[in-house]
Amino acid sequence: MRLRLSTDSIRNASIERVEDLSGQALSSCYQCGRCSAGCPVVDEMDLIPNEVIRLLQFGQIKKVLRSKTIWICASCMQCSARCPKGVEFSSICDALRAMVLRMRLATPAVDAGNLSRVMVSKAPQMGVVSALRKLLNG
């Protein structure tokens, strides 16, 4: 599959929105992959963190917004902690989720059935509240 690049496709409004919302400069990432190397949930991801950033550097926002990755990230901030360039991928993930939720591009990734089961199972409030805020509330 071939990627066609041009000025217009690289810098677009959505990409700028990602940078604004996340407070991260996408061009800082030099693709070392350390974020992916240390991510605890990377096995479940369809795009690994550095690939998400790479696609954003190419302006390919659609692929990224459709990916499972942004819902799988546990916000543990290990990627950010070890990034040599100080890029916070966890913040980029939050920004991408917020964009999906605010634009209602996808149905939320929380299964109501699972949720109620968890609630009943004496899960701590903080777990449920944080999941709802991370996954349902842009």
Binding site: S22, G23, V41, E44, M77, A81, S91, D111, P124, Q125
Partner: protein, 303 residues
Amino acid sequence: MKIPYYPGCTLHERALDFDMASRECANALGVELEELPVWTCCGAVFPLTTDSVMDILAGVRNLAYASRMGDKVVTLCSFCYNVLKRSNKVIREDEEKREKANLFLKADTDERAEMESYLEQDYVGQVEVLHYIEMLRDVVGFDKVAKSLKTSLKGLRVAPYYGCMLLRPKKEMEFDDPERPTIFEDFLETLGCDVVDFPMKAECCGGFQIVRDEETAIACSQTVLSSAIKRDADLIITTCPLCLYNLDRKQKEMAKRVKGFTKIPVIYFTQLLGIALGIDEEHLDFSDNYVDPRPVLAGKKLV
């Protein structure tokens, strides 16, 4: 000595055992945790998007309440600590957000304002947010803790689990070295335990992902557990109710999935402190734990 205390919603409801043990320990050490008369849930997550003032309000409101009571506030849950500390930093450093947040607080309903006229002045970040373990080290002093011990935990192999929220992001939390933290090790040494250093002590337990997809979160937790088990830990301590839920309660699922899975008890650090301080087991309440720590403790003649 009295010190303002923010329990947060989880310790108020589902982690009552943690709350109780922590208060008892504080009492035994001559500190009274003075619960804020009014407080709300902190929101559990610090927003990582730049445009949200609303999302830090919950944290700031509680800090403003705390500012009525003193210059410090102590908290226990990692999430609360993370949210309060980071929100405080925003208030201290971001003038624009500080102004906006105070405007919102002023617009709080009459009812709330009546409950406690907490907003005579702007909240400017004057409160210092302390984790209970920092209180033990910096306010009480580990040496005083050592002197107050009734039981020696010698021979008990304890692995301290930090998780994510206490340590990261480093520049904002300023809690400990995020790669090789030592505060819980120092604490455990004070109690006389054999400290088990294990490589996964600051790796994620899966966090809130347990709500979305159990499998993913359980895999994370299992990595953490097996690393501590390999190093022959008798026990893991934590300070986070969500970590405890993932690491302890989910061992049921792990046992089903993994052949020969060895269980390991996971308890709150103040429950362990309680034992060392000779506090009655009833006040420490191990009844909620899926993996009962009592056999291990009994084996060392600690209960």
